[in-house]
């Protein structure tokens, strides 16, 4: 990541605050993610990581502050508008179409990318480019042999791969992944890391991750979120050498 490509940040948060009733879950966050950067958010349970993702992706509007995507303000926009502006996300809890085939799960997003969102007058089977593209994503996430199966019948780690695949389909260039490797075995995690590395080439990645080895092997920079505030933003090496971070978070984890 060289500094000169950071002409305009892909994602920029300034003074973002989110309260649920009296509780301030995120407190005046400032964060800039450069275009093409792979950025991790780490932090203890309940720190507000998923809430941060929910604000950026449009589930909630920020209570105050600005969020911009590629220079365009998106704070408070609806999820579908933010997606069309070029941002896609995955979910910490698998969020797929359980009763559709794996192929269909992916094709829904591919249709959106090719702008055939509401096509009513042509059969889907004849849309060659869309079906080929869907096959491509299916292969990318290693689910070629499962295309015809119902998504609800996949194993947990296959569903996680599908979750990532669906996030890719809409062609967004900013990708948010919420704990993509949670609950995976060591080998599955290694595979998932390679998958994420491969599919995010040329894209901007923001991911929540608990596993520091994943963060080290994948990410350019890390932000540490503790009790709704960013304690530090640095390279993985820098963060793990940071005393405040060690006390607040990494120390806990080691204990």
């Amino acid at each position: 990541m060289s500094a000169d490509t950071r002409v305009r940040p892909a994602l920029k948060l300034s003074g973002v605050t989110k309260s649920f009733g009296p509780i301030e879950v995120l407190k005046h966050l400032d964060l800039e993610i450069a275009s093409g950067e792979r950025h991790a958010v780490i932090g203890p349970n309940g720190a507000g990581k998923s809430t941060l993702f929910n604000l950026i992706s449009g589930i909630f509007a920020p209570s105050s502050g600005e969020i911009s995507l590629n220079g365009r303000s998106i704070g408070g926009m609806a999820p579908e508008q933010i997606n069309r502006a070029g941002l896609a996300r995955s979910f910490q809890i698998t969020n797929i179409f359980h009763r559709l085939s794996v192929f269909e799960n992916l094709r829904i997003g591919v249709l959106a990318r090719f702008g055939v969102r509401y096509g009513l007058f042509r059969p889907i089977s004849g849309m060659r480019r869309i079906n080929e593209e869907t096959e491509k994503v299916l292969a990318q996430v290693g689910l070629e042999s499962r295309g015809h199966d119902l998504a609800g019948d996949l194993t947990y780690s296959e569903q996680r791969a599908l979750e990532i695949g669906m996030t890719l389909t809409t062609g967004a260039d900013v990708i948010l992944l919420d704990e993509p490797t949670a609950g995976m075995s060591r080998e599955e995690t290694a595979e998932a890391v390679e998958l994420i590395r491969a599919v995010t080439v040329g894209k901007t990645l923001l991911m929540v991750e608990h596993d520091m080895s994943v963060v080290f092997s994948l990410c350019d920079r890390v932000s540490v979120l503790v009790y709704g505030s960013i304690l530090a933003t640095d390279t993985p090496q820098g963060v793990s050498a940071n005393h405040a971070v060690q006390e607040a978070y990494l120390g806990q984890e080691a204990a």
Binding site: S57, N83, N95, H98, L111, A112, I124, S125, L150
Partner: protein, 428 residues
């Protein structure tokens, strides 16, 4: 793609629908018209419930406005408007679409129970308003009009109405089937499964649901027009709750997870009501009972059960199933006989006529007539017969069910995943 076998099946069905009705008497032709209309209405309704996962309790509204729209157009034709009579259902389509758009805009802002309640409220609203809007709905008595001839076709006979109805039902049914093969059809299924995720893939979920709702309203409107054309009259009772309830029952009994399932339910209910409603006043009760039993023991409906068997036809040991299935049928008939006996007996004993004859006899529990025999309200056989029928039937069913389960379990894979429309369209 459809398999050769299903194409053959559909072609046979079509040939029968075309060739048989002229050989039938008027009552049967009329009954078939009603079957066709109920089928189309149920298909339109199922677009919403089966595919989009939105359970409407007020679909009478769109069926009803379609009927009135058709009648108003027919009145205009009578008054000299040059409009081809066979295209009258277009009026129902347009009005169903518009009313569906408006109602759908509000109803689909909510989901689940709240969606159902909003649709119910909208239908009730129209039902309450209609008798007061003389000009539109003709007050309590409704409006009527004659079918005008077009291009040498007089539309005077029932068989002409039948073919007109058949044409429209096939056209709209085919349209609804093709719908499932389009991108929007797939989006509809995705909305049913997980509306939130659809939004994160860049789709406006609310607008999409409004469109699905409006299309369902449009086809329901066509079905309503066909009824209006057939009856040449309609009144506000078309908006009543039982019209909305009927289509729910038919769709679920037929099977909402299978495209053609609702047609099965609609055909069964429409035919049964034609055959049975003269014989018994308890028909509505039997309908409800059938619904409850299907929901309890075959939640995917008749269509779902058939599809399940077709899907596993190669793994199943059919010869081993034949005897238990025959026994199940027998047990089911015994139970049905027991229930019908008990129901009709209760209907007589607690009915007005019997109360009056008892009064005349000074309050004595006098014998009554049922099924061509005389029964005493105090005699043991009056109660023993239904009890024995029920008991024997249930015993057979319980016993046979275990054998059937065993055969199914032996097919290699245990459990039976209910597949849905999602996979019936196939993947290219």
């Amino acid at each position: 793609m459809m398999s050769f076998r299903s194409v053959l099946l559909l072609a046979t069905l079509l040939a029968l629908l075309l060739a048989v009705p002229p050989l039938l008497d008027l009552a049967w032709q009329n009954a078939l018209v009603n079957v066709l209309i109920a089928s189309l209405f149920a298909l339109a309704f199922n677009l919403l419930v089966g595919q989009a996962g939105l359970l409407s309790f007020g679909h009478a509204a769109y069926f009803g406005v379609g009927a009135f729209a058709a009648l108003h157009l027919m009145i205009a034709i009578e008054d000299g408007l040059a409009f081809p009579t066979p295209l009258v259902p277009l009026a129902g389509a347009v009005v169903g679409l518009v009313v569906g758009l408006v109602a759908g805009f509000f109803a689909t802002k909510r989901s689940g129970v709240y969606f159902a309640l909003v649709t119910l409220a909208i239908a009730e609203l129209i039902h309450a308003l209609a008798p007061r809007l003389e000009g539109l709905f003709g007050g309590e008595s409704g409006i009527g009009s004659m079918r005008m001839p077009f291009a040498g076709i007089v539309f005077g006979s029932t068989i002409e109405v039948y073919y007109l109805t058949l044409g429209w039902v096939l056209f709209c049914g085919l349209g609804l089937y093709l719908y499932t093969l389009t991108p929007f059809g797939r989006l509809t299924l995705a909305l049913r499964d997980n509306e939130q995720r659809v939004r994160f893939l860049g789709y406006d979920a609310h607008s999409s649901k409004v469109i699905v709702f409006a299309i369902s309203g449009m086809v329901s409107g066509v079905a309503g027009s066909l009824l209006a054309i057939s009856n040449e009259t309609a009144n506000y009772s078309l908006f009543a709750t039982d019209v909305s309830a009927q289509v729910v029952l038919q769709t679920f009994v037929g099977g909402s997870t299978v495209f053609f399932g609702p047609v099965i339910g609609a055909a069964i209910f429409a035919l049964f009501s034609f055959l049975v409603s003269d014989l018994t006043r308890s028909w509505v009760f039997y309908q409800g009972l059938i619904f409850v039993l299907v929901m309890l023991y075959a939640p995917t409906g008749i269509g779902g059960a058939i599809q399940h068997h077709i899907r596993h036809r190669r793994q199943l040991d059919w010869p081993a199933l034949a005897a238990p299935y025959a026994a199940m049928l027998f047990g089911g008939l015994l139970v049905a006989a027991g229930i019908v006996f008990a129901t009709e007996m209760v209907a007589v004993m607690f009915g007005e006529d019997y109360a009056r004859t008892r009064e005349a006899a000074g309050g004595a529990l006098i014998p009554f007539e049922l099924f061509g025999a005389t029964w005493s309200p105090t005699g043991p056989s009056t109660y023993l017969i239904p009890l024995v029928l029920l008991g024997a039937g249930i015993a057979i069913l319980v016993k046979v069910r275990r054998r059937i389960d065993a055969v199914w379990a032996a097919r290699g894979e245990q459990g039976s995943k209910t597949q849905t429309l999602a996979t019936t369209g196939g993947i290219q």
